[in-house]
Structures are given as structure tokens and as C-alpha cells.
Amino acid sequence: ACGSGSGSTGGTTGGGTENAKVAFLMPDLASTRYELQDKPLFEAKMKQLCPSCQVIYQNADSDAAKQQQQANSALAQGVKAIVIDPVDSAAAATIVKSAQSQQVPIIAYDRPIPATPADYYISFDNEKIGSMIAQSLVEHLKADKAEGGILQVNGSPTDAAAGLIKKGIHSAVDPSGFKLLAEYDTPDWQPEKAQTWVSGQITQFKDQIVGVVAANDGTGGGSIAAFKAAGVKVPPVTGNDAEIAAAQRIVAGDQYNTISKPIKIVAEAAANTAFQFMEGKKPAGKTTLYNTPSELFVPTVVTKENIKEVLFDSGIMKAADVCSGEYAKGCEELGIK
């Protein structure tokens, strides 16, 4: 590593992990998971592996250049490893380059960096997420013998991850036999925008809409609010991220599904891998993706049927957070305590 002119890095080069620093660079605030789940879980695991180590957490707020700045600053602080969820998978190549040129191992987290292989890649697959939520909805509609079309609410047009999810959704919706009535790229993932758009579509297509595939819980919530505000019945709406608010809507029967990523597992795996790198080892991946040793985890679609097991029994969420006020009744029905 490259400790630069300051005593705080301890001045040791090579494998020592005493007082070492590791950077954990997250991409945006559009989804709450990075701040609320990934970061604390990663930190906790790291603390357990290496009590004296320090985690440098940064969030790039959807700005690739800012992420580059954050990575540079981490390098200037002499980190021993970088775990990065790139804002822009392509642009992160620069970060990989500069980290590797300073012999700092770099782990791609959540999103791949195809152009310049990182040292390791740990993720679940965004495209897969898209196809899973859409597929679950389509199956539900078929089971209900619904007839009509589907609205598709994508994520931000300027977000690469949203592009992957969109691709996945299409892979499930296009061959489903349900007509894709219209789709929309929600600027900045804003729920308000999603609501406005869906409101417009309700006037346009009226009762033809049998389902809405929304790319995350925020836009899903916006879509639901649009139906409520129009005073019509809410069709099944998807989500993604398993936010508490989404869990509440599922419990209340407003939202059809969301998707729970085993963030705990992934974050801990990332911490493990990072720690091995810091110790100077070179962990081998389960598979190889994009020329990178990789490990992929499978997320779970959450619906009313399995919400209790997936989210509550597993301890991801606490009933107290979700089952407040008006949601208590729904929780009770589902046996969530």
C-alpha cells in the first residue's frame, strides 16, 4: 500500500492487518439499502474479523466522478483493500486501474466492472432481479386469469443498474402474452414521477391495466398511490429492495411483491474476501465472470405468502418496525409477531 506522508497508516507495507483501513464505496442514496444494510453489516463483520481495522464508508450519490474522487481519497489514506459498488460499471474501470497500480486489491460488489477485471466480484444479478419480479407478477396474473396489459415503471434513465433491471423485466414481460401497455424511465427513481406517470396512464388505459412492474419499492409505492388517488382498485404492483415501507404495503395487500436480497450474506462474504486480500491471500472465486473470480447469490421474491419466513423469521426485519398502527391487523392475519 501507499501510505503517504502521514503516521496514521502505521507505515507497514505488506500483509499486516493491524490498524489497516478498508474502503467500502457505495453508489447512491436512491435505495436505502446501502446505508441501512450493506454498510452496517459489512462493518460488523469486519469488526469481528479484525477489531482494529477501520472501514472507510463513502456514498457517491449517483455520481461516477464523485466516486472516483472518493476512491482516490481512500487510496491517499492508504487503504489495504477497496470494496466498490460502482455507480457506473464502465467508468469504474479507472478506479480499478488506479487501485491496482498502487497494489491495492479491489472487489466489485453488487455490480460488475466488465472492462477492467477487478480482483473479485460478489453480487446478485440485477438483470435476474428484474426478470424475477416480473416473472412472479406474470405468473400471479396468469393464475388469476387476468386479461389486459401491464405497465412498466423502470428506474432512472441515467442509472446503469436500472438499465439491467429493465432488461430483466423485459425478458419476462415480453414473452408473457400480456400486452406491454407503456413503459417509463423514472428520472432519478423519483416516486413522485412514477405517480404522475401512472396517473396519466390510468386515464389513458382505464381498466385495461392488470398489473404494474415497478423497478424498485419507491416507484412501486408511487404507482400504488396513483391508483389510490384515482380512486380505482390497485392491481398487483411489484417492487424491489424489500424496504420496510414495501413490507408494510405487502402486509396491507397494496403491493404484490418485492425482492429480498440476502444482503447480510453478501455483505459478510465481501468482508471475508476483503479481509483475505488484506492478509495478502488471493481467494479463488466460485465461478468466473467477466474474467473475474466471482461469487453470485440468489435473491428471493417476497410476496404475502412467504413474507413471514423470508423477512421476519430470518431476522431481516423486526415485526415492531413494520406492524405499527394500521398494519397491525395485516401482520396479525399473516401471523407476524
Partner: protein
């Protein structure tokens, strides 16, 4: 009206009386480019026609109902922006403040279980306090309001995230009065018509009394026929709007609330000493100071008003979405609110603008957004077209203003 009144004795003035006179006056002013909001309205009509041709749903009653409801939250924020722009300052933080206020509301109401009115009051007061702090910073240190509110933009965004804390997104219960107000409460048809009639009668009565007072004081005044025509026109327009929106769900209470705020602000700005002072400070702050106006108090009041409106807008936005989340108030709320004010004819340099400008401006913006949303374009094309249509809407207004400049009324 044929004996010359005190204010019409100068022989260079052309004589104009009665309905005919009023019309000539309008034509003359149109040629001189001094038309107030008329060009914006024309711009609006142009856009509406275009959008309707592109998608026949656009002018459907259901869509217009949506439009009115979607305009309210940002429109109220724009109303505050009009005030700060009037004194020649700016507030970049209205988005963050609205987001923060929504978050505080949700945390207090849902998280802490406080009664809704208390949560609302707390959010609104928070907004007022923020504005007060801006005012103090501005008056004490003379930091440009651009920088103060830029700092506020960041700080209150942070605070919003902090308040939402581990939850990130908080649902407001759909059956709460607040959410109902923003989503489902519509004015009953009979009441809407009553409102329309009251407005028209009031316009006539106040105009008539005012004219009588002026005539008694020996000043020229609008003739009864002009007044009657004017208020009948208003009645017709309002009745048509009510009838057309009534085809589906009618006029939302939230929109009525917005319009009421516009009317109140219009009154405050045009008929009170405070409003005069606001325009004076915006026109020439040194002259205002020398006239003995407490310029600092005016600045503070305006910042307070703007942040308060931002907080109210934030509450309504949260209510309409039935949720407060991390991205509430971010994105283009700031730009839309400022753009609505500017499109409605408010000058960025202070001293020129009206409360009605905010109403018209936000309707222009929401029309564009709603119309293009209905078209289901690719997002890249959608951005391009939005930009082009926005420009189109404003060119109409600007061209008429330009002719004003060339007539020496810069």
C-alpha cells in the same frame, strides 16, 4: 364619464371609456406589449392545443383533474419562490426544505404517533424557522442568498436523510385525513358552482364599490357595463371549468387550497403596505431603505414565507404520495418551482411578478410534463421535447415583452 376627471386632464391622453374603451385599451396595451399574464395564457393555449393533437387524452376531464392535483404541491412552493424573487433574492433550498418537512411530518405522525395537526404544525413551524435563520444570515452577514440557500439545500437534505433514519421511507396511512385531502377529497358540484358565483359576484361588487368611490373622488373609473362584462366572463370561465372537471371527479380540495393561497398572496402583495415594501425592495433596495422601510424585516419575512410555503408544499407532496422518502423534494422540485415563477413572469432581478404567475407557471410546467408523459416517448426524446416545448411556451411571452422594450417600457 364625459366630464374630464382629475386623472385624465392631460391633453396628451387618449380618452377611453366604457366597454369599448376598455377594449381599445387592451389592444393598445397589446401593441405596447404591456399585457400582464395574457401572453402566458396564450402560450398555455398553444401548448394545450399541440399536446391535445398529439394525444386526445390530454384534455380529457380525468387528466385535467390529475393536472390540478399534481400542480398544487410544487405550485405552493413556487408561490414562495415568487416572493423571494420579488425582492431580488433566490431560495435554492425549497426542495430540501419540502423534503425535510415531509419527513418530519411522517416521523411525527406515523413514527411518534402524534395527532396529524400537531405534526403538520411542527413541520410548518420548522419551515418558518429555517426561513428565519436564512433571513438572519442574510441580514447580519450579507452572504448572498444563493450561497446561504445552497448551504441549506445540502444541510437540509442531510437532515432529511437523518430524520428518516433507518427506515428510509415512511408510509402515510391511506385512510388518514391528510392523504384523503390530497388524493380523494373533491369539492361537491353544488359547492363548486357556489364558489364560482361568489367569485363573480365578489369581483363585480368590489369593482363597483371601488368605481363608485373613485367617481366620488373625481377620478376616472370603470363603467358598470365593463365591470359586468368582466365578472360575467369570469363566471362563464369558472362555471365551465367546474362543469368540465365535474365530468369526472371534479375540483380537488387540495387545488382549491392552492388557489386560495394564491388569492391570499395576491391580496398581500398588491393591497397591503407589506406587499408594496416587497416590490420596493426588489425594485431599488436603497430607495426603499431611504423611504424608511425596514428592509431587513422585509427580507426576513420573505425568506420565512418562502420556507414556510416550501414546508407546506412538502407536506402536500408527502400526502399526495402517501409516503415520505429520501428522494422527496430532490430532483427537479427546485428547478420546477423556480421555473414556474419565472415562466409566470416573475423577474429574477426583483421587483416584477405576481402571485398569479406562480399559478400559471406551474400549470404550464405540469401540462408539459403531463402531456409528454402521456406520449410514452423514449426518455431521451422526452427530455429533448420537454426542453423544446418549455422554450416554446415562454417565447410567446417573451416576444410580447420584447415589443414592450422597443416601446420604451423596459
Amino acid at each position: 364619464m364625459n366630464t374630464t376627471t382629475t386623472d385624465r386632464q392631460d391633453e396628451r391622453l387618449q380618452e377611453r371609456a366604457g366597454v369599448r374603451g376598455a377594449l381599445t385599451d387592451v389592444v393598445e396595451r397589446a401593441r405596447g406589449g404591456d399585457l400582464g399574464v395574457i401572453p402566458v395564457v396564450v402560450g398555455l393555449v398553444v401548448i394545450w392545443t399541440v399536446l391535445q393533437l398529439l394525444n386526445p387524452i390530454f384534455l380529457s376531464s380525468a387528466n385535467l383533474v390529475n393536472l390540478t392535483l399534481e400542480s398544487a404541491a410544487v405550485g405552493i412552493i413556487a408561490l414562495g419562490i415568487v416572493c423571494v424573487l420579488l425582492v431580488g433574492q433566490i431560495d435554492l433550498s425549497v426542495g430540501s426544505v419540502s423534503g425535510l418537512s415531509g419527513a418530519v411530518l411522517a416521523v411525527l405522525f406515523v413514527g411518534q404517533g402524534l395527532p396529524v395537526w400537531l405534526a403538520i404544525a411542527a413541520s410548518v413551524i420548522l419551515g418558518a424557522v429555517i426561513g428565519w435563520v436564512y433571513g438572519q444570515l442574510f441580514n447580519r452577514f450579507g452572504v448572498p442568498s444563493f450561497v446561504i440557500t445552497l448551504a441549506g439545500l445540502l444541510a437540509f437534505l442531510g437532515l432529511q436523510l437523518y430524520v428518516l433514519g433507518t427506515k428510509g421511507s415512511i408510509n402515510l396511512p391511506f385512510d388518514s385525513g391528510l392523504v384523503n385531502f390530497a388524493q380523494l377529497d373533491f369539492v361537491p358540484a353544488w359547492l363548486s358552482y357556489t364558489f364560482a358565483v361568489i367569485a363573480a359576484v365578489w369581483l363585480f361588487a368590489s369593482g363597483f364599490l371601488h368605481a363608485r368611490e373613485r367617481r366620488r373622488a373625481g377620478l376616472s373609473a370603470r363603467s358598470v357595463s365593463t365591470l359586468a362584462v368582466r365578472s360575467l366572463a369570469l363566471l362563464a370561465v369558472l362555471a365551465f371549468v367546474v362543469w368540465y372537471l365535474g365530468q369526472t371527479r371534479g375540483v380537488g380540495w387540495m387545488f382549491v387550497f392552492f388557489v386560495a393561497l394564491v388569492l391570499i398572496m395576491h391580496y398581500l402583495l398588491s393591497r397591503t403596505k407589506w406587499g408594496r415594501a416587497v416590490y420596493a425592495v426588489g425594485g431599488n433596495v436603497e430607495a426603499a431603505r431611504r423611504a424608511g422601510i425596514n428592509v431587513r424585516a422585509i427580507y426576513t419575512s420573505v425568506f420565512v414565507l418562502c420556507s414556510t410555503f416550501a414546508a407546506v408544499g412538502g407536506i402536500l407532496a408527502a400526502a399526495r404520495l402517501a409516503a415520505a422518502n429520501q428522494s422527496s423534494g430532490s430532483g427537479d422540485v427546485n428547478l420546477n418551482a423556480i421555473a414556474a415563477a419565472v415562466i409566470g413572469g416573475t423577474s429574477l432581478f426583483g421587483g416584477r411578478g405576481t402571485a398569479f404567475g406562480a399559478l400559471l407557471g406551474i400549470i404550464v410546467i405540469q401540462s408539459i410534463s403531463s402531456g409528454l408523459t402521456l406520449l410514452n416517448l423514449d426518455s431521451s426524446i422526452r427530455f429533448v421535447v420537454t426542453g423544446a416545448v418549455l422554450l416554446l411556451a415562454v417565447i410567446v411571452d417573451s416576444v410580447s415583452r420584447r415589443s414592450r422594450t422597443s416601446h420604451g417600457r423596459a
